[in-house]
Amino acid sequence: MNHQASIEKITGKPIEARAKKSIPLSFSRVVVWIKRNLFNTWLDSLVTLAIIALLCLLLPKALDWLFFSATFSGTSRADCTPGAACWIPIRQYMDYYIYGPFPESEQWRVNSAFAVGLFAFPLLFSQRIPQKWIVVYILVLPVVLWLLLKGGFIFEDISTSALGGLTLTFFLGIIAMCLSLPVAILLALGRRSQLPILRWACTGYIEIIRSVPVITFLFMASLVLQLFLPSGVSIDVLFRVLFVLIFVSAVYKAEIIRGAIQAVPKGQIEASYAMGCGYWKTMAYVVMPQALRNSVPALITNFIGLFKETTLVMILGLLEVMGAINATFHNAEWLGLHAEGPIVISAFFFIACFSIAQYGAHLERRIKRTKH
């Protein structure tokens, strides 16, 4: 008030806070924007025109092939229009793409698994749910998925060969994502540990694993491992594949997290220690929350990569969604349709990965709100 009064004395009029004037959107403003952003220099104009020309050339053709001339309904190859997409097999095999060869009477288990998994979205996007619950959900989800889809406890066992399509992709992707993060956190902490043996072990593990292609480990999991196991003992291929996915992708995440831990100021740890807090609590409540917040963009990229890597299990004869779609197009009836399969696969992965990315963006917005 005093301050206000002194300003008034100098300027002769009161200065009050007021809202910024808003300018209504008008045609002339749009024109100005276009001029400024698309036709600013002659080079800009040239690029703009070239892109417009290219779009005019390609877009109608593509849309025509994809939708306008494409065949959506029918029963056999004969119904397809030549020179356009034929979506008949996709519709015919849709059930197979989603459930794979899962026994029909047990499909409710797949449905409930999807429901439990998709429950992640309201849970993760909500502001009100305490973080403790989210951690519990992430740790319980893999167990629930395994029970529902693979069986055990009160659920009837399903043979591995009955898992396929979207069900298998979902199963591998979610379990690997949920479990690789805790493994990665432990590896990152291990690599920064004061205990030399632990530190060397973690460093060695990380350096070796990240220097070898994932596909090699998948091959080894399927073929080499059998050489070392005593005869008669065999580990379910699903288990082996999951093991590889989790422990390989954890290495990359561990390095992301290690970088983020190093970016947390040392004073934060000291402040926690100075209050008598021990190592684990300091890591859990002070360091990791900050480190994980800082590594959200990189971790989301890693999760997306991991989800797409699940397609590699194809080489072990597991028909996840990509394998399932490809298989139907190798069917004699539909042989020769090359483009439809990859387009559907791309669309599926785009939807899944874009959702993950959106979650990342949401997290970043939320974190920004608490940072100043």
């Binding site: 004073g267 000291e270 220690y273 209050m275 021990g278 900050q290």
Partner: protein, 247 residues
């Protein structure tokens, strides 16, 4: 060790590689005393105060805090840290927690108090440092002076026997120094045992019971302020005082 002595240093030495950072430090602090450690930068003041709660490890000699001697025993060190509260130059508040959560952190995670109980204790102390109305804000939304007051409240929540201040006002704008000093004054008046590394000579003159002057890793003078400011025993202290009081 007398019952009154809460901090005792006996021939403490520390090296950073070859650099001899602390040299034969002897110091005993009685309960309720306010000690100000001063000296030129690089003289080992911060290192010394950080050795008291084992944020830095000393190499030789003995440090005893509230009858617990610092050793390799992690439990002992955690106990010592519960007896001491520390305030840092850069506040070191947890940026991802609200002011209130910052202050209940130790109560909940170290002492295992319930949230309701912890909130009560924390609110009480936040009111004491006159910042109770900001409890739902994040540290980044506060001014430096406010942050340091929250940091003091956070340290006090653990009801420490000894408060360590490591240059608490050095990172503050001049207009905010007084609000932090005011809190420190009231703490000193209430009989808190305090060890402060600070350049605030006004505070030292008025409230310190003894002033410890350090130079190149050694304590070269320990005197009450009336003696230290009027007639320092060493030439080095005289030069230091001239420089610091000149501006």
């Amino acid at each position: 060790m007398s019952e009154q002595t809460v901090v005792k240093l006996d021939q403490v030495n520390k090296w950073y590689g070859k650099y001899h950072a602390l040299r034969d430090i002897d110091l005993a602090v009685a309960k309720g005393e306010t000690i100000v450690i001063c000296g030129p930068s690089g003289s080992g003041k911060s290192t010394l105060i950080r050795c008291l709660n084992n944020l830095e490890q000393h190499d030789e000699g003995g440090i005893t805090i509230c009858d617990i001697t610092i050793s390799d025993n992690v439990k002992d060190i955690e106990k010592i840290r519960r007896h001491t509260g520390m305030v840092f130059q850069h506040f070191n508040l947890f940026p991802h927690m609200t002011v209130l959560d910052n202050c209940t952190f130790g109560l909940r995670h170290v002492l295992g108090m319930s949230v309701v109980q912890a909130n009560e204790v924390a609110r009480d102390l936040l009111n004491k440092v006159k910042i109770g109305d900001q409890e739902q804000k994040y540290p980044g939304q506060l001014s430096g002076g406010q942050q340091q007051r929250v940091a003091i409240a956070r340290a006090l929540t653990m009801s420490p026997d000894i408060m360590l201040f490591d240059e608490p006002t050095s990172a503050l704008d001049p207009e905010m120094i007084s609000e932090v000093l005011e809190i420190m004054r009231s703490l000193s008046k209430d009989g808190m045992t305090m060890i402060c590394v600070t350049h605030e000579m006004g505070f030292a003159k008025e409230f310190a019971d003894r002033i410890v002057f350090m130079e190149a890793g050694s304590v070269i003078e320990i005197s009450p302020p009336e003696e230290f400011f009027v007639k320092p025993k060493t030439e080095r202290a005289k030069v230091f005082l001239d420089q610091i009081l000149a501006h």
